[in-house]
Every structure is written in structure tokens, then in C-alpha cells.
């Protein structure tokens, strides 16, 4: 069974339906293209020229702090908000000025927006009914969708009788009922408790991959973004900071903002000394991969806490620095260890150390340790 059914839910299944609008659209052409999108509200510039491509079938996540314009961008893609400038091409068709009702997408809102006076079945069927589909077909489609979202018996209930997570699943079923080419999710999980959130995360991702529907999801939860996305779009103040796979965004942040926003990170102010050497306080570090930075340039070095090696009893690798534990904070599997380097002028660091290692090394404030800062894991940004 595949649910990637075309417009008419009764008709045979065809996966290439988004292509049939535009015969020229090749498979490697992006399904959705945004070019130079600008939007202002009064004098406030909410989007300052956003360009972006989404490949067919990919799950793209917009990630950014509150107010950075994620929802605005999503609503522009949906045609619920009109951009001041810029072009939107979906499935080879320029939809820049097409109103919402003329575009091809399904949407799920943070509030679910389920119709409270209609049963779950009627909610799911809401977009099917006016498409001259036989009642029998609609009924079987509803059953299929409800089964797909794991609530096969919810049909006759009212939304008010369901839990938040169940309502979210119904909203999802309603959005994919008409087999749209594009699925838009605006913070779909933020109203749920932590456990339900993690469970639905996996379910949505699995469903999306099974349907192969191009999907854009908005969130400000980085863990959600990293765990679900094919590609993450990190946004800040109306601009895109970086587009990349979750690993790229985490391991190779392109800007200080991305480094700061995605995950925890240590920041070390440094001065380049030329030929790949950088001075942090009284310590000089060799980063062979950044020979290109001219001597005297002020830069910042970024290092994830889990990359820092903390050693007791002199087993340290060459080049490890002498330091003292300043603080140990228990976080479960890991402990966050605050470290003060003995070298003058260096800022203190935070390292993630597995609990067993903390116990084995008897790490506590005042313990003398040696730390290694792996050059390969260090990002240099100015």
C-alpha cells in the first residue's frame, strides 16, 4: 500500500504526479525554489532576502530563535502571507502570486486547528468531500489514513475527546489526506509534553519517508531539528545563516550564530600567528587546516564540550595542557566539567565527561588534570 495517491484518492497510485504539471521538471531539479524572498510588516523587516531550494522528498527544517521569521517564511510558501519581493517555484510552476487555495500543499499548525464541531472522520475528510469522490472511496480513505497515523478507532470521536498528541496525528492525517506535493508543519510538536514529543518526532519522520512527500517543518527546538531533518536551515533575524545536513550544521557551523545556537560550544578568543598557529592567552595552538589566516587577525575558536579530552594521572596525549577542575555538574549519563587552564590569560572551558570517567578520575573541584584540545575539531570563525 502506498499513500502517495494522486488528487483523486480513488485513482491508481502514481508517484510522479508532481511532475505532471510541468513535463520539463527533471528529477534532480529542486521541488521547491525560493528566491530573494523579502517581507516587511510596517517598518519591521521580517525576511531580508531569503533564497532556498528543497529537493523532492526531503524533510527540511527551519530552525531559529523566536521571532526570526520562520513562521512568516512558511506562511509565504503556503500563500497565506504574500511576500513583498521574491519568487516561489513549486514543482516547476511559478506560484509566487498564486493564493493559498490555488497551491498544492497540506499544513499542520501548532494549535492543530481541528474543527471542534466535526468528528475526527469528518475532519480528515474535510478536503476530500468537495472533490466529487464517492462516499465509499472517502470512507476507505479515511480508514486508511487513520490507520496510518495509528488511531484506527478515532473516527467517530470529536477532537475535544482526544489528547494533544492524538489531535496532532489527526491534524497530520487531514493535511496528507489529499496527497499534497508539499507538507508544511509549523512547530507541530511544541504543544506536547516531552515524551509524546519524542515519540511523534519518530512517527512523523517515518510517515514522511514512507510517503516521500517534500516537507518543511518549523521548530525552535534544535534537538528536534537535528534528529528529524534531511537538511536544517538555520535562520536568524530574517536571514538564513546556514543550510546543511544536521551533521554539517553541528560539526561545521558556518557562522558564530550557528555555532552558538546549535548545541553547546566553547568560545576561545584568539589571535592568528600565521602558518596555522593561533595564540589563546599564553598558549599557542596549531591548527594545520587553517593556514590561510594572516598573522595578527583576531579570530574566535569554537570547540564542542564533548571534543575536549580530560585526563588524570599524566596519561595525556602530547600537547595536553595543565588545568584544574573548577566545577562538576551532574547531568545523568554525562557530567559537565568546568575547567580552568593553568596558562595565563586563557578562558575557562566546559567539557562533557562520561559519568564513569568522572568517578574513576575522582574529578571534583580542585582536581589537577590535563586537557587536550583536538585541533581537527576546532572551528575558526572571525
Amino acid at each position: 500500500m502506498t499513500l502517495r495517491a494522486p488528487r483523486d484518492p480513488g485513482a491508481p497510485v502514481s508517484l510522479s504526479k508532481n511532475g505532471d504539471r510541468s513535463p520539463v521538471a527533471r528529477d534532480d531539479a529542486p521541488y521547491l525554489e525560493l528566491a530573494g524572498i523579502r517581507k516587511t510588516f510596517g517598518r519591521f523587516e521580517a525576511l531580508k532576502g531569503v533564497s532556498l531550494d528543497a529537493a523532492r522528498g526531503e524533510l527540511m527544517v527551519f530552525l531559529g530563535p523566536s521571532g526570526c521569521g520562520k513562521t512568516t517564511l512558511l506562511r509565504i510558501v503556503a500563500g497565506l502571507e504574500s511576500q513583498d519581493e521574491g519568487r516561489i517555484v513549486q514543482g516547476g510552476r511559478d506560484v509566487s502570486t498564486v493564493p493559498a487555495i490555488g497551491r498544492d500543499y497540506g499544513i499542520v499548525f501548532q494549535s492543530y486547528a481541528l474543527f471542534p464541531n466535526l468528528t475526527v472522520a469528518d475532519n480528515v475528510a474535510y478536503g476530500l468531500v468537495n472533490r466529487r469522490t464517492s462516499r465509499e472511496t472517502i470512507r476507505s480513505r479515511i480508514a486508511e489514513l487513520l490507520k496510518l497515523v495509528g488511531l484506527p478507532d478515532a473516527g467517530p470521536k470529536y477532537p475535544g475527546q482526544l489528547s494533544g498528541g492524538q489531535q496532532q496525528r489527526i491534524a497530520l492525517a487531514r493535511a496528507i489526506a489529499t496527497s499534497p506535493g508539499l507538507l508544511l508543519l509549523d512547530e507541530p510538536l511544541s504543544a506536547l509534553d516531552a515524551l509524546e514529543r519524542v515519540r511523534l518526532r519518530g512517527e512523523i519522520r517515518a510517515l514522511q519517508q514512507r510517503l516521500g512527500v517534500t516537507t518543511i517543518m518549523v521548530t525552535h527546538d534544535q534537538e528536534e531539528a537535528l534528529s528529524m531533518a534531511d537538511r536544517v536551515v538555520v535562520m536568524n533575524a530574517g536571514r538564513i545563516e546556514q543550510v546543511g545536513t544536521p551533521r554539517e550544521v553541528y560539526e561545521k557551523p558556518a557562522t558564530p550564530f550557528v555555532a552558538d545556537f546549535v548545541g553547546k560550544i566553547n568560545v576561545l578568543p584568539a589571535v592568528a600567528e600565521g602558518s596555522g598557529r593561533f595564540r589563546v592567552g599564553s598558549v599557542s595552538l596549531a591548527l594545520d587546516h587553517r593556514q590561510d589566516i594572516a598573522a595578527g587577525t583576531e579570530v574566535k575558536l569554537y570547540l564542542r564540550p564533548e571534543e575536549i579530552g580530560v585526563h588524570v594521572n599524566g596519561h595525556a596525549a602530547a600537547g595536553a595542557l595543565a588545568a584544574k577542575v573548577a566545577k562538576v555538574e551532574f547531568l545523568g549519563a554525562f557530567c559537565m566539567v568546568g575547567i580552568a587552564l593553568d596558562a595565563a590569560g586563557t578562558p575557562s572551558l566546559v567539557a562533557n565527561v562520561p559519568r564513569q570517567q568522572v568517578d574513576a578520575g575522582r574529578l571534583e573541584p580542585g582536581t589537577a588534570v590535563r586537557v587536550s584540545l583536538p585541533a581537527g575539531a576546532m572551528r575558526v570563525l572571525s
Binding site: R75, A100, I101, Y126, R174
Partner: protein, 554 residues
């Protein structure tokens, strides 16, 4: 632009045109007429100068302000105490007290005046209580107005007291705040907006009402009656326009004060407030019971006297039961037709008014685009609240009786009565509709667009059914007011569309108090029937269409 959006915009434009035609146009005509002479020649401020040079008319202004001030100073504290008793005490019979206190809304204001004449007039049972003073004049107007305005003030204050957050009281108690201090630091500030609003409503109502002073005012002149005399008595429409503007001034002032207060106090209540639950306090509860009983006796005495008068032969000489006022005074005299006119008018007002008002509110709140026009409309729909019925009615004469107006065909028809009544009671109904619509998820329209469902389908399948309680509430409000309204329609009726409230006025003038009381009784009975019907419908019929409201959670 998609044709759906065009349709929505077209509808909004049509609604705006209707508002301009039936509200703005007539009001502007008043300004125009006030600076013209009989033949339409511009004369500047001559009428105003003449007006302010006439001592009797100046006296009217003083009288009007005096009466309105006294009524406000009595009614608002009474209503506050009553509302306080209903929300903060554990006295028995709260539901009954509330219903009794709201009964004056069901009757035309004239009825109160007739009742007070029966009680305190020349033949009155309690005439002695006035110690020689005559009820005809300031005393009668004040008493009747207190009766008529009480429920309006009560509803406003009650709402603001009900909104109070119980957690504040719990916090105060935890801090061992004394009862009196709690009252002044939590209760009063919380009810401040309600009190100001009630003050403005009572003041405006008293200033604008014309039925009461007409019946019981005697030689005590007030502005509302002056307009009536100028227009109906002397056929001096331009002078009438001038008095209208003078009358509009204090009401407009009240309205503006209210508007500013509302803006300032908007954010006061958090939506997560926990309702306050009163606790027993025998002394306090008993005092409140005595107070509410006294007010209720007053209410019932006024209503009861009118009903009683209609069922006896002749007050106070022959008190035997009789239907003669109904049979001879109303049916045989042909006046009963007026009652059916009123029923028809109230019905049409409720039907078309609800449709229009709800549709307009929907277009304003739930469609996209045209932000500037919408902002203007939001302001315009608050105007009717500030326009006394007499002023509106006079504006309708000027506007629709104008030979050049292509719509002057509606002059003298039922349509103009219905239109003026809808406009007169527009603001509250609009507020009810907007509140209901704001409670709906903003994304319903977005979801339907994404599912390619036209907005009007979602309106009929979701928005309207979910808002049904509010829609019915608006319908009931318009019906009840359509039954009792007099001030706007008194200038606009034709012999064959004369409403019951005007008939009461005429019968009272002809000395047929029994028949007038009978008509008032019929009105009260009809409005009560509609309210009972409303209660039944909301409880039982809605249980089916709104099953989702009652649906139990897992």
C-alpha cells in the same frame, strides 16, 4: 487574486456600503440640517444662537443633566451591591434574584413610568410617601429611570466581578489581609472598568430615553422630550436637529470616556483566572439577602402593578378582575394590530440583524487584506452605542425622506423600522459576535484554503455552528429590544406599521391607562416567551449540534 478573495472583499464592501447608507448618511444629515433653514438654505449657526438664547431650553439642559446624574449616582451603587451579593455571598436564591433584577429589560421604559403613576400618582396607593411632592416631574423620571437602567448596569458590573481572579483572594488571605482592605485593593480595582462602563451606560440611557419623561415628566422639560416636541409638535425639523446635537454631546462624551478606559484596562484580566468561590459568612450573607430582597420587591412592585392594572376594571375604584382592557381597549379598538406590528418588527430585526451583524463581524475578523478599511469599520460600528435613538430616528427622516434619495421608497415601511432598530442596537451585538469569533482558532481559514475548500463552506460548516450560542444570543437581544424600542421608531412609523410601544404612548396620552398597561404586559409576555425559548433551545437543541462541547474527555 482568487475569486474567493474577491467574493469576500465584495461582500465586505457591500456591508460597508450598507453601514454608510444606514448609519453615516443619516447622522451627517443632522449636522447639515442644523445649519439650514426650512427651505434648505444655509443659515450658519442661527438656530444654535436662538436655541441658547431661549431660557426654557437652557432649563432643559440643566434638568436633563440633573436627572441623569442622580439616576447614575443611585443606580450604579445599587447595581454594584446587588452584583456583589450575587458573586461574593452565599445567600440563597441567587438565580431567582438575578432573573428578577433583569426583568426590566423585557418591558418598554414607558411601563415603569405608568407603574409609578399608579403607585404614587394622584390616585396612588403610596402617594403619602412623597409627602406632598408630585410624582409627575423629576421624582417620577428618576424613579422610573432607576428601574429601567438597573439591569443594564447590573449586567456590566456582574461580568466584571465574575472575571475576578480567585487566586488573588487566596494570596491576600495567605497574607492575612483584612476583609475591608481586600475589598479596596482587589475587588474595587478589578471592577473599576465595569463600574466606569456602567456609569456611562446609565448616564447615556437616562439622557437619551424619551418614553419615561414623556409619560411621567409633567412640566419638567428634558432634552429628549424637547426634540420630540420640536419635530412632532411644531414640525420644526431644523430646531430638532440642533437639540439632537446638544443631546448628542453628553452621550458622546460618556462614550469617549468609556472608550479610553476600555483601552487602558484591556490587559487587566489574565485568561487563566480561577473563578472566585465565596465562603459562608452568616452576618454578611443575611445582610445581602435583605438588600436583594428589597430590590426585588421594588422590581416586582413596578412590573406587578402594570400587569395588575391591565387586569382590573379601574384603578383604584373598581379592583375586580376583568379582561376589558384587552378585549375592548386593545382588540375592539384595533390597537392589537400594533402589537403584531411589533412582533413582526422584532422578528425581522432579529433575523436580518443577526445575519448582517454576524456576517460583518466574520468578514472583519476572518478574511485577509484591506486592513485600513477594516480598522475604519471597527471604529464606525462603535458609533451606534453613542447615538440616542431619537437622534438616529431624526437622521433617518432627513436622509430617507429626502426627495432626491433613491431609497426614499422605504420611508414609512416596515423596512425602515427594522433597519433603524438594527443600527440602533448594532454595537453590543457586534461585540458579542466578535468575542465569539475571536475565540475560534485563527487558522481554520488557512486550513481550509490548504484543503482547497472555499471559505464560505467553512463558514457554514464550522464557524457558524461553533458560534451558534453567540448567534442565538444576538438574535434574542435584537428581538427583545425590537419589542421595547420607541425612541428611534417614534419618528419613522406609518399608521399601518405603528409599533406597540408607540401605541402605549398614545393610549397613555388618551388616558387609557388600563389598555396601555395591557399592551406593556403583552410585550413583557412576548419577550419572556422568547427568552424562555432561547434558554430551552440553547440547552436542548444545542446539546445535539454542539455535542463536541459536552463530549467527555478520556
Amino acid at each position: 487574486m482568487h475569486w474567493h478573495d474577491r467574493l469576500a472583499q465584495g461582500l465586505l464592501f457591500a456591508c460597508c456600503a450598507a453601514l454608510a447608507l444606514f448609519l453615516i448618511g443619516p447622522l451627517l444629515m443632522i449636522f447639515v440640517k442644523s445649519v439650514q433653514d426650512k427651505d434648505g438654505v444655509y443659515v450658519g449657526l442661527v438656530h444654535f444662537r436662538e436655541y441658547f438664547a431661549t431660557p426654557e431650553l437652557q432649563q432643559s439642559i440643566r434638568n436633563t443633566l440633573f436627572v441623569a446624574t442622580v439616576v447614575t449616582m443611585v443606580t450604579v451603587p445599587l447595581a454594584f451591591t446587588f452584583a456583589y451579593a450575587l458573586t461574593r455571598s452565599c445567600m440563597p436564591g441567587k438565580g431567582t434574584f438575578r432573573v428578577i433584577a433583569l426583568t426590566p429589560i423585557l418591558a418598554p421604559s414607558l411601563m415603569a413610568a405608568i407603574s409609578f403613576i399608579q403607585w404614587f400618582g394622584t390616585q396612588g396607593l403610596l402617594k403619602g410617601l412623597l409627602a406632598g411632592a408630585s410624582v409627575y416631574g423629576a421624582i417620577g423620571i428618576i424613579l422610573s429611570s432607576i428601574y429601567a437602567t438597573f439591569p443594564h448596569a447590573l449586567m456590566i458590573v456582574l461580568t466584571s466581578l465574575l472575571l475576578a481572579d480567585g487566586r488573588l483572594y487566596e494570596a491576600a488571605e495567605a497574607l492575612r489581609t483584612p476583609m475591608l482592605r481586600r475589598f479596596f485593593t482587589i475587588t474595587l480595582p478589578g471592577a473599576k472598568y465595569g463600574l466606569v462602563s456602567a456609569t456611562m451606560v446609565v448616564f447615556s440611557y437616562t439622557v437619551s430615553d424619551f418614553g419615561i419623561p414623556k409619560v411621567i415628566g409633567g412640566n419638567y422639560n428634558v432634552l429628549a422630550v424637547d426634540i420630540f416636541k420640536q419635530v412632532i409638535g411644531q414640525q420644526n425639523f431644523n430646531k430638532g436637529a440642533v437639540v439632537s446635537l446638544v443631546l448628542l454631546a453628553p452621550v458622546l462624551l460618556a462614550f469617549i470616556v468609556d472608550w479610553f478606559m476600555r483601552r487602558r484596562l484591556q490587559a487587566q484580566f489574565s485568561s487563566r483566572a480561577v473563578p472566585y468561590v465565596p465562603r459562608r459568612s452568616p452576618g454578611f450573607d443575611r445582610a445581602m439577602l435583605v438588600f436583594c430582597s428589597a430590590v426585588s420587591v421594588f422590581m416586582l412592585a413596578v412590573l406587578g402593578m402594570a400587569v395588575y392594572t391591565s387586569f382590573i376594571k379601574l384603578w383604584p375604584y373598581d379592583l375586580s378582575f376583568s379582561l376589558r382592557h384587552y378585549v375592548y381597549g386593545l382588540i375592539d379598538a384595533g390597537v392589537i394590530v400594533d402589537y403584531f406590528n411589533s412582533l413582526k418588527m422584532a422578528f425581522y430585526t432579529a433575523l436580518f440583524g443577526t445575519l448582517f451583524i454576524f456576517a460583518m463581524a466574520y468578514l472583519l475578523e476572518k478574511t485577509r487584506g484591506m486592513a485600513t478599511l477594516k480598522a475604519a469599520v471597527r471604529l464606525v460600528v462603535t458609533i451606534p452605542m453613542a447615538v440616542p435613538g431619537l437622534v438616529l430616528g431624526l437622521g433617518y427622516i432627513f436622509f430617507f425622506n429626502h426627495p432626491d434619495n433613491p431609497l426614499n421608497g422605504i420611508y414609512g415601511t416596515m423596512a425602515i423600522l427594522v433597519l433603524s432598530t438594527v443600527v440602533h442596537y448594532y454595537t453590543s451585538s457586534h461585540m458579542t459576535a466578535v468575542t465569539a469569533l475571536k475565540a475560534l482558532d485563527d487558522e481554520f481559514e488557512s486550513v481550509s484554503a490548504s484543503l482547497k475548500v472555499p471559505f464560505y463552506r467553512t463558514f457554514f460548516r464550522v464557524t457558524l455552528p461553533v458560534s451558534l450560542p453567540a448567534v442565538l444570543d444576538i438574535g434574542r437581544y435584537l428581538f427583545v429590544n425590537g419589542m421595547v424600542t420607541i425612541s428611534a421608531v417614534v419618528f419613522l412609523y406609518a399608521p399601518d406599521t405603528r409599533p406597540a410601544s408607540v401605541a402605549i404612548l398614545n393610549m397613555d396620552e388618551a388616558g387609557e391607562i388600563g389598555a396601555a398597561a395591557g399592551m406593556a404586559t403583552l410585550i413583557v409576555a412576548s419577550s419572556t416567551a422568547v427568552c424562555v425559548l432561547y434558554a430551552i433551545v440553547t440547552r436542548y437543541l444545542l446539546r445535539r449540534t454542539q455535542a463536541w462541547r459536552a463530549a467527555p474527555r478520556p
